[in-house]
Symmetry: D2
Subunit: 248 residues, 4 copies
Amino acid sequence: MTIRVGVLGARGKVGQAICAAVEAATDLELVAAVDKDDSLEAFTEVNTQVVVDFTHPDVVMGNLKFLVERGIHAVVGTTGFDAARLDEVRGWLAERPETGVLIAPNFAIGAVLSMRFAEQAARFFESVEVIELHHPNKADAPSGTAYRTAGLIAAARERAGVGRSPDATSTELEGARGADVEGVRVHSVRLAGLVAHQEVLFGTQGETLTIRHDSIDRNSFAPGVLLGVREIAARPGLTVGLDPLLDL
Amino acid sequence: MTIRVGVLGARGKVGQAICAAVEAATDLELVAAVDKDDSLEAFTEVNTQVVVDFTHPDVVMGNLKFLVERGIHAVVGTTGFDAARLDEVRGWLAERPETGVLIAPNFAIGAVLSMRFAEQAARFFESVEVIELHHPNKADAPSGTAYRTAGLIAAARERAGVGRSPDATSTELEGARGADVEGVRVHSVRLAGLVAHQEVLFGTQGETLTIRHDSIDRNSFAPGVLLGVREIAARPGLTVGLDPLLDL
Amino acid sequence: MTIRVGVLGARGKVGQAICAAVEAATDLELVAAVDKDDSLEAFTEVNTQVVVDFTHPDVVMGNLKFLVERGIHAVVGTTGFDAARLDEVRGWLAERPETGVLIAPNFAIGAVLSMRFAEQAARFFESVEVIELHHPNKADAPSGTAYRTAGLIAAARERAGVGRSPDATSTELEGARGADVEGVRVHSVRLAGLVAHQEVLFGTQGETLTIRHDSIDRNSFAPGVLLGVREIAARPGLTVGLDPLLDL
Amino acid sequence: MTIRVGVLGARGKVGQAICAAVEAATDLELVAAVDKDDSLEAFTEVNTQVVVDFTHPDVVMGNLKFLVERGIHAVVGTTGFDAARLDEVRGWLAERPETGVLIAPNFAIGAVLSMRFAEQAARFFESVEVIELHHPNKADAPSGTAYRTAGLIAAARERAGVGRSPDATSTELEGARGADVEGVRVHSVRLAGLVAHQEVLFGTQGETLTIRHDSIDRNSFAPGVLLGVREIAARPGLTVGLDPLLDL
């Protein structure tokens, strides 16, 4: 039996890509594509089981309240969830304990897995550095993902009592050794022809382990969203981040 | 307090490297270095707590029996353990339930981690291929590690109901698409200037994840052996493979 | 002073990208955008200096004859040029010796450079192998570029008296060692999430040199086309392939 | 016919490796292995044609004078040659115009080729950055090779009128964007398990070209030295650097 899926924000660029991905999946059925001028009732009229919401921080809370009250599961990529908003969602879910809501800042499975693997590997190697590579129009360096990755690595090493990576540098041209994010060196490359890439390098005596993620397409969130759609009914309550669904 | 460590096969190439690594570690003390003409009593005389055995299939069972009977923990890299041998070791350990024995075919932490990560990632991607790269004097293609990696990936995908990687190839020059190991394509590169390297490539819409392991030194087993030495006292009974010690 | 540029096939996907690239370049001026229902006279009316032709084998010869007779330089990416067609173009150019025509099968500068570098490096290394990686919808393996690259490498090694790459493989699972293209091993990876990539690996004692080209966008021909537009006036007669313009 | 080769500094680590490489080559014959307590006459007694000198700045000038005066060709890896020393060698060679001397700071063919290719590619791409990766005991960052590579790239771009690589970074954690070497960003990674590696990344719309050199062995100079031994007789006078012998 197929899952009956609705999409909110269906005419946006991301929403269109999700509609296409749902339609291409043989185990999912797209039953309602709703955008800002449409009524949310469209979902209840066709017995929607899961709704995907990639809309806007201004409207997402209203959407979620509507869905949870009607026992419709939700997979949410909209940004802007702080602790207060997450608590509010948990409050609604307490009234409808069989309903599941997944809120995730990043649906690119490859990105989520590389952060997880980097965290797991962190304490087994003397050395670690991060290189992130992006198109030259990016305003911030390092990238948000590199900050998060370095933070996870640093915390894992601290928990295991592993010290800083060895480094005998005594003469450095300013900036050569990268930025220091909680003790982990991070290098940011900006190059025409790239999109979004990251490499985590681990090293110990005689061997290195490299975890590399390449994203060349804005649609790389689609497989992660579909995973959420398929799994959320089995996970009542609030799930934050894609990690728990990966069952690693 | 330091751990009192003995080494068996101490004058071999691998044994020498292990002795050096133990001596370099501040939390370990090398108390006995034994080779084939020496008596195993050397270990008991100095209250050895853990013995590392990189010897030969012909003598390793005698070594292990001696050690287990005396409650000395063992970390074993010697090859040739089949199910019957492992059962025999389990029998000895039943008599000395507080003693721990670790037997592992591969102590390179990077290799062990990359296999584990590859297995974990396998079901989240449409496509997967393995490229292994070695020096040109290697006799077999693919490498044993590539066979094992592809086997783990194939099993994980089958458990999750993921089909074969998509492939529209209709015109192929013989061999271009690599070897088929349980449905996973494996490519073997042989090149002067290389030692032992492996890349597992995963891909789905718009993104790829690459796990690469490079080993350029025969001493890359040392960090894994030291991990075993430090952990084995806390793991009574028989442990096979380094994985359980990694606590992933 | 800017160069006055016309585009033939201007409403096609490639043609649109070229029009946009010309308009974005400060030293070029787009003076005529012509497609199949338009008259070629549009070029002469506005004193076009160089015309870019990405049209169809059925019409390109007529286009070129028109342009050469009027002394308009041409940069041609249309396919289907065999020796007979090239000779015919040379015949027209003999009448207008100040006019330049560039006909190239590949305008991606990175691809052209990597083939050239691979050819130059070929004779200095004991070992060489080629890995090409593409999206899984590709029908042929190896790719045309990999065939050409391996052929150039093989010829360069033969001229220099360099033998085959060393290879001690005695046990091979069928296909593991790739395809044999004129004595050079070529491996073809097909993976979702990739577009078009190629790696040439050279190795000798203790060192390797890798030349990698990644193409993730159909517009990667644009910089090569603009290079042709800027240089062709200084190169009267027929030029085949982008290489001569690179002045390596 | 084989070339009769002598080695100066034959008992040093490098000298031993060169003796072994000469003996392994079927077209070369090792006729004299000389070290500091031996007489240079050993070379003349056995009609040595080419001498390889990896000794010390304090003795190399005396060695070279002796060899040139006797018409013996020399291949020199000893350091410490400034303009004055090179002029002195040229003076000796003026008296023996049929004799050839090659003095090179770097005999790793892969390193020499990657610098050359980087210089050739530099003007065809909007963007370029350099990543060099070394073992953590290295004192300086960036490496000398990275400085030289960036300098060659910068000069080639300036000659061609190519501006700086585009970069929209407005928020940077100090050091993230690397060091600025003549306008080229250089990143220095220091990691256990590495030896000496460098990657030059070029990018333009939709495509990137990467030139990577990996050196994992101190003997990676051997193929370059043998190339010098084979070619120097055909190149009378002074040759500085391996480049001219590569005939690119």
